[in-house]
């Protein structure tokens, strides 16, 4: 369903168990049960190579990058820039098209604030193409994570532009027939998520990009839930900007990335300003470095970038197509199993795929918090709440849901334990079909 080729073989149970051994935390017991970690949609666990990379850096190479003249500083700079090349290549980008940020949230805000600064006249004539004002429209979707919604709301407030959205249907999928009414020649920017963090649905990127191109709008892709789980080539997807977070793809917290098409980054004014992003500074004004440094003010996230590159090497070692094939199987098992439990409604469950290994559901008459408490009691870690997508939950008529999300290290046994746990919870609370 994920579009992986037929020749891709999903890993065997024995292979998965070998991978699991690379993740120290997966051996933990929780409440007297082996941990079943089904919350990778929130944050992933880390393999030893990632932990070692960060430790190795601090024990052997720690120094300020792009600043010192000494040997360590030079070596640290090389590793830092190599890490950029590794991560950029992983998503099909050129090195200087990948900007380090703290996380996806900061990456999305970077774009929004660069547009905002251009709208205030910063960046000169080159940045005119990013200027927004009254009459211009920004388009998002109703299924966005708050991180890909609120920065655009704020950008609209600051510039006088109007925010519009592509609605979702009762089945949770984007109403593509409505997209034509929403995306018009007034649309200047279209921001949407590649994969919904709630529904696990993979959105039709090609179709949406085509519509944005037809009206000359910029495209911003929230790739937070796709880059960790699917083979992603941002150049092939033909988006202008994309954001993702390291901690969801086996990397450490505190590091994320913004991809930006080279010529756009080159024309864009900065967001954060200060040290390391300038050429000449006087008391009155400053001139800025070319991208990516123009967007990397201050001391950088060196150990995190290096560890993220180690995470990417780990993912490449397995192969994203195989990870996707494995999660496709787990996801199908999750969906089929949940459908059999009385009182369970899977959000977006009736929408045609494709999707990743994630499912959120409502259990009739039982609050998600209570479901989560029962599963936690059995060592099963899942997420409850609105998953930072209040408008989507509101649209589907609920305030909170329970989400299980998989990754390469999850087994079919873990999915089955989760399903049994949900069935037992339904039973305890006397849920009727």
């Amino acid at each position: 369903m994920t579009g992986t080729s037929e020749t891709t073989h999903a890993p065997t149970a024995a292979e998965i168990n070998l991978w699991r051994e690379d993740f120290p935390l997966l051996a933990t017991e929780v409440n007297g049960h082996p941990l079943a970690y089904l919350d990778s949609g929130a944050t992933s666990q880390k393999p030893r190579t990632v932990l070692d990379a960060e430790r190795h850096y601090y024990e052997n190479l720690n120094a300020a990058v792009h600043r010192g003249a000494h040997t360590l500083a030079a070596e640290a700079t090389v590793l830092f820039e190599d890490a950029r090349a590794t991560v950029a290549d992983f998503v099909g980008a050129e090195e200087d098209e990948l900007v380090w940020t703290s996380n996806a949230t900061e990456a999305l805000n970077l774009v929004a604030y660069a547009f905002s600064n251009a709208s205030a006249g910063r960046g000169g004539a080159a940045a005119e193409r990013f200027r927004l004002g009254a009459g211009d429209e920004i388009v998002v979707t109703e299924m966005e994570h708050h991180a890909n919604l609120i920065p655009w709301q704020e950008l609209a407030f600051r510039t006088g532009a109007t925010l519009r959205y592509i609605p979702v249907g009762d089945d949770g999928a984007l109403r593509m027939e409505a997209a034509d009414e929403v995306i018009t020649p007034r649309t200047r920017l279209l921001a949407f998520t590649h994969v919904s963090n709630v529904l696990g649905l993979i959105n039709p990127v090609e179709e949406l990009v085509a519509r944005a191109r037809a009206v000359g709008a910029f495209v911003v892709l929230d790739a937070c839930q796709s880059v960790p789980h699917l083979p992603v080539d941002l150049k092939a997807l033909d988006v202008d900007f994309a954001a993702f977070s390291g901690h969801k793809m086996l990397g450490p917290t505190g590091i994320g990335a913004l991809y930006g098409r080279g010529e756009l980054l080159a024309a864009m004014p900065p967001f954060l300003t200060g040290g390391s992003m300038i050429t000449t500074v006087t008391m009155e004004a400053a001139e800025y470095l070319p991208p990516p440094q123009r967007f990397e003010a201050g001391t950088q996230k060196v150990s995190q970038a290096i560890a993220l590159a180690a995470a990417v090497e780990y993912l490449k070692g397995i192969g994203m197509d195989r990870i996707a094939a494995h999660e496709d199987e787990l996801g199908a098992r999750l969906l089929a199993g949940l459908a059999e439990i009385p009182g369970v409604t899977v959000l977006g469950g009736s929408a045609p795929g494709p999707r990743v290994g994630a499912a959120s559901f409502d259990l009739a008459g039982v609050h998600a918090h209570d479901v989560g408490q029962f599963l936690d009691d059995q060592g099963i870690a899942i997420r409850v709440g609105h998953h930072c997508a209040q408008p989507l939950h509101r649209r589907l008529g609920i305030t909170a849901s329970t989400r299980a999300s998989t990754y390469l290290y999850n087994t079919t046994e873990e999915v089955d334990r989760f399903l049994e746990g949900v069935a037992a919870t339904a039973n305890f609370f006397g849920v009727k079909a």
Binding site: H369, D370, Q373, D377
Partner: protein, 152 residues
């Protein structure tokens, strides 16, 4: 299947009250009202305190509320509503403080049955740090509603 701690958390009283909550439905024209929200899960409550009498003799006639949330929050608001009826404002304040102290004790302080009545069934919640907010939601709303009643 589930552990004894879990059984202790979800006692029968709590399950009963969560299915048949007590005091639901706003009446309007209350002496004080408060809306409380738990932003991490979106649970919310709107709660009214209806008072009679004057000064130190001011008595809680009834509490009414509306909201949605987990079994713990619904049962807790119900138990508070039952407890509060007929108490003086000062007395209710004392009991809210006693409940908060027990809830924030991480399982170290058992709720006092003399002060809290059936609400002691919520004692198990205090060992689950993430759930204390659920249990407190209605009580915090009552506390704010009493402040509003006083300053109006």
């Amino acid at each position: 299947m589930s552990s004894s701690e879990l059984q202790n958390l979800y006692q029968q009283v709590i399950l009963d009250y969560s299915k048949n909550p007590y005091g639901v439905g706003l009446l309007g024209r209350a002496a004080g009202q408060s809306h409380q929200l738990n932003p991490t899960c979106g649970d919310e409550i709107t709660l009214e305190v209806h008072l009679s009498g004057e000064g130190a003799d001011r008595v809680v006639e009834r509490i009414r509320w509306e909201g949605h949330g987990c079994a713990i929050s619904q049962a807790s608001a119900s138990l508070l509503t039952e407890l509060a009826e007929g108490l003086t404002v000062e007395d209710l304040r004392t009991r809210i403080d006693a409940f908060r102290t027990a809830m924030q004790s991480r399982g170290k302080i058992a709720p006092d049955e003399e002060l809290l009545g059936d609400a002691v069934a919520l004692g198990g919640v205090s060992r689950y740090v993430a759930r204390v907010k659920c249990a407190m939601l209605g009580w915090v709303a009552a506390e704010h509603a009493l402040v509003e009643a006083e300053t109006r």
